[in-house]
Each structure stands twice: as C-alpha cells, then as structure tokens.
C-alpha cells in the first residue's frame, strides 16, 4: 500500500468517484423511468407480466462484456453505451419488485379504497403505491448495489468510475489503485444501501413494528 500514490492522486480518485456515483444515479433514474410504466402495465394487464418479466430477465442474463460488444457498432465506446447497459441491468429487479409490491397490496384494502370512492389514478398513488413502497425500495436497494459493482466493469470501455483504478493497477502491476478502487466501491455500496434503508424508514413510518419484509 503506497500512501504517497494515494496522496498524489487524490483529485483523480475524487473525480472517478463522482463519475461512479453519477453513472449509478443516472442508471437508476433511467431504469426506474422505464421499469415503472412497465410494472404498472403488468399490474393492470396481468397477461403482460410474464412477457415483460421474461424480456427483462433475458436482458439481465446477457454477460456485460457481450452487451458492450453488441452495442459498439451503434453507440461506440461512449458514456451512452455504458449507461444503456447499466440501465438495462436494473430493469429486471425494478420491474419485478414494483409489480410484486403492488400485488402485495391486500385485496380488501384495494376494495375498501374503491368503495370509499377513489378514482383509479388517485387510488394507485395514494393507496397502492405507498403500501407497495417497502417492496419497491427493496428492489431499488438491490439495483443500486448491483449497479455500483457493474460500473467498475464499464471501465473496459473507458468510463468506469472507480473501475479505472483497477485497470490502472493491472496495467502497472501496482496494487495500491486496485485496493483503493475496491475499498471505495464497497464503501459506496454500503453507504448507498444504508441511505436507502434510512429513506424507507422515513417514508414508511407505519411499517415499523410490522413484520419485516
């Protein structure tokens, strides 16, 4: 462990970390923007659920390196390529947890809401989604942690956040950057996960004391 190297490269490490965080956040935002309407459609028309889940499932199984290669002819070695790939990998868990969360809303609660005189959209946003929130956030947590790991791989095409440190380290047969990249990305994943747990506690005070989900 060469602390001198760390001192010399603090600025670089910082900007790589920010890039890492930015990619993670954007992938999640795009992923949710796509997954949410898909999940609503799958809830509204249950026959769509299996095909939607199947498609996102297949996408999820494509090895990441293969996916980069497939996209190269279209988007080249750009940040766009990285983001598209990262986004695709979030879809499965986001769609699945959103649908399962909504399906988990007890039938009698939905029925009561309807009988109280809720219209469909208001019922979705005021009753069903809030109740589904713990399960949806659980999905987001998995997606965030997975994405933070995956970002390091996008370093292969030049936009890898902390992953760039791995590549540097391997090229120079020098351990310090690898250790720094590894420790920071793990800490980042843990911190992000804890932050989401905190967010969930804040948003769902009612779920405290009920069975853990």
């Amino acid at each position: 462990m060469d602390w001198g190297w760390v001192q010399d490269h603090l600025g670089e490490i910082q900007s790589l970390f920010l890039q890492h965080a930015q990619f993670t956040l954007l992938a999640l935002v795009y992923g949710f923007a796509i997954a949410f309407p898909l999940a609503l459609a799958a809830t509204r028309w249950p026959r769509l659920y299996t095909p939607i889940l199947g498609l996102t499932g297949i996408l999820f199984t494509i090895p990441s390196i293969a996916l980069f290669m497939l996209m190269m002819p279209f988007t080249g070695p750009t940040a766009t390529t990285c983001l598209i790939a990262l986004t695709i990998y979030t879809l499965l868990v986001l769609v699945r947890n959103t649908v399962e969360g909504l399906k988990g809303v007890p039938r009698e609660v939905r029925e009561a809401a309807e009988a109280m005189g809720y219209r469909r959209f208001k019922q979705l946003f005021r009753v069903e989604l809030p109740i589904a929130l713990p399960v949806i956030i659980a999905g987001i947590r998995i997606a965030v942690v997975t994405t933070i790991g995956l970002v390091t791989i996008t370093a292969l095409i030049g936009f890898g956040g902390l992953g760039a440190l791995f590549i540097d380290g391997f090229r120079q047969a020098f351990g310090t950057p690898i250790v720094v990249g590894f420790v920071l990305s793990v800490l980042f994943a843990i911190a992000a996960d804890l932050a989401l747990v905190g967010l969930q506690r804040l948003l769902t005070p009612w779920a405290r004391g009920t069975a853990a989900r």
Partner: protein, 371 residues
C-alpha cells in the same frame, strides 16, 4: 330507501348469483341479507355501490337509478364496512377515518373535528387517532372501519359481515353498540351475514336467500320466526325457533300477573290463604314499599309469627320490562317457583311472568308490521 327491481346477476361462467330480486329497504331500517354461501348476498350488497353491475334490473337509491350515476360519486355517499375491514395500513387512524371527507373536499379543520367526534362515537380510545391500524386490536380496528364508513354521514350503509372477524364476546358488544348508534343515526342499511342469530338480532327485516340468489322470504324477524314461508326458511331458522322468537319479545309486552303476594307483616295463615287462592305452595314477599324481598314456601312458615320471620328465598333471577321473554323463561326454569318475578325501578315488584303467559304470547298470530 333502496329499491331492487327485478335485479339479476349472471356471471360470465354462467352461474346465477342473484335471480330476479325485488325488494325495498325502507329509510332508517336495517335489512339483513342472510343465507348459505353462494346465495348471492354479498353480490347483492356490492351491486348497491356498483362494485358489481347487475345483468338485469334496476337498483334505485331514493328514487334515482344508480346505474346512471358516477360510481365514485355514488360510493362517497354510501358507507362501506367489510369483515376484513380493509383499513389503510400506511395511514393513521385519524387519516383512515378522514378518507371520504378528504375525497369530497372538506377543509382540514372540519375533517379534524369530525374525526374527533367519530373516535368518541364509536368508542375508540382518545389517543388512538395518531396510531397506525396494526397497533390496534381487531375489535378496535372494526370500530375504525365503522367510523370511516360514517365519516361524511352517508344516508346509506353497506355492511358485509362487519363483525365476523372478532371473537364472540367482542362481537356481541359491537352488535349492541351498533344498534344503539343506529337508533341515533337512523341509516338505511344493507347488512350481510351467514349467521341467522345475528340476522334476527340486527335486522328490522330479514331477506333470506337460497342458492342461486332466490329470495325465499322478506319479513321482519318476528314474522319470519312465527310464520316461515316454506321449509327452506324453517330449516334455515333452525331449531329452537320458539326460543329465538321469545328473544325478540320484551317482558313489557305481556301483562304480568299480580301473583300471590304477601307483605313481611302478614301472618302465616294469611299467606296460606293467598297461596291457596293462587293454587301454589309458595308466596311472593314484598316490603312496605312493595320492594321484592323474595318468596317463601308455605310449609316453612309453620310456627312463625309472621312472614318476615320465615325463610325468604331470593328469586334466582329477576327480570325487568326491557328484558326478553327468553330471559324470563330462563329465570322460570331455574327457579323452584316456576315463575319469573318482574321488578321495576328501585326493585319494586311488578308481578310474575308465567309459562302460561308465554304460551299465549307465542300462539298469537304474528302482527303484520307497518311499511
């Protein structure tokens, strides 16, 4: 008033849930829909707020065809209570109760005042408003369900086995409280249950339905018990029909006999004479203020100077005007005298209720009810 006019519901799979149903639920009354599972009682209830649409026929609420109304608007004017309660787990009790007022656009202050009022009306602990549903007991949750349904004071309530999920003791209490509440609020209620005893207790009228949604009889509980329309009705009412009927008749409806009465100062000879006139071997004992002291056996008065020195036994149970004849009958069979002593305010003796009086009451033809 809720009117069903030739209403039928056939489901896509060909089953008939409700078959050509016509009946009226008068204002301020509880109509209980009762029958075995598959008799279409819940389907019928859910057609009133358009959770289910009829295949044929017309349902009117206060003369207006509900199929021509906006379902959401209609539902906000109809209270809804179900067995599973369906409270919103993510909202406090206060917000649960305030749901419909919020939907119809009451301001915050008005909602808050109404919710406070309802928390008291349904007998919830004062501090329960800021709690979440899972922090309450089943009985308390059901009270919240009733409060939520009453929030905008809707003229009509639909109640589907509302007390079905709580234990028998809590159920009895909730039923009685609800009946008291209903005396004040006078809602027009469709109440569904599979329990005939609950139907008899809660209903101003009972609609007894059989498999496939056929209406077998629509009558007051008294009429139905006294004159079941057919064998199905009689079977469904079950054994002990006489006892169930007695449970509906208050003691005040029969003229209590004065019975053999003596006071504490009367002599054994006088007591013996009174008993002889009444053809009994015991007499009722009252004090100067005619308060009931109990009864004495004539044999046990031998050698005493007056009745007060005798061995006065308490009646096993005393009944009052508001008790049912069933309670009176129970008092009779557990008392050596074979009669129930009726007392009024301050324990004042009002007379005795005898087997003969009960027999007479049961053999009276059922009185047709108004409406």
């Amino acid at each position: 008033m809720i009117t069903f006019d030739s209403v039928s519901k056939r489901f896509a799979d060909g089953t008939t849930a409700v078959d050509n149903l016509s009946l009226e639920v008068p204002d301020g009354e509880i109509a209980v829909f009762v029958g075995p599972s598959g008799c279409g009682k819940t389907t019928t209830l859910r057609m009133v707020n358009r959770m289910i649409e009829p295949t044929d026929g017309i349902i009117e609420v206060d003369g207006k065809n509900i199929l021509k109304e906006d379902p959401a608007e209609l539902r906000r004017r109809i209270g809804y209570v179900i067995q599973q309660i369906g409270l919103f787990p993510h909202r406090t009790i206060r917000d649960n109760i305030g749901t419909v007022p919020g939907l119809v656009g009451w301001d915050k202050k008005r909602i808050r005042e109404r919710v406070d009022e309802l928390i008291e009306v349904v007998g919830l602990p004062e501090d329960s408003g800021d709690r979440y549903p899972h922090e309450l007991s089943g009985g308390q949750q059901q009270r919240v369900g009733v409060a939520r349904a009453l929030a905008v004071d809707p003229p009509i309530m639909l109640m589907d086995e509302p007390f079905g999920a709580v234990d028998p003791i809590v159920r009895t209490r909730l039923q009685e409280e609800f009946l008291r509440l209903q005396q004040e609020v006078q809602k027009t209620i469709v109440f569904v249950t599979h329990d005939i005893d609950e139907a008899i207790k809660m209903g101003d009228r009972i609609a007894l339905l059989s498999q496939g949604g056929r209406l077998e009889q629509y009558a007051t509980p008294e009429e139905m018990l006294a004159a079941p329309a057919n064998e199905f009705v009689a079977d469904f009412l079950g054994g002990e029909r006489g006892l169930k009927q007695l449970a509906l008749i208050p003691v005040r409806d029969v003229d209590a006999r004065s019975g053999p009465v003596v006071s504490l100062e009367d002599t054994p000879e006088r007591a013996s004479e009174v008993a002889g006139d009444a053809n009994t071997d015991w007499v009722v004992v009252v004090d100067d203020a005619r308060r009931l002291k109990g009864w004495v056996s004539i044999d046990e008065l031998n050698g005493q100077r007056n009745v007060g020195e005798g061995n006065i036994h308490a009646f096993s149970a005393e009944v009052s005007a508001g008790d049912s004849l069933r309670t009176a009958l129970n008092a009779m069979v557990t008392s050596r005298t074979g009669v129930a002593a009726r007392v009024g305010e301050g324990g004042v003796y009002e007379g005795i209720v005898t087997h003969k009086l009960i027999n007479e009451e049961l053999s009276k033809p059922a009185e047709p009810t108004a409406g």
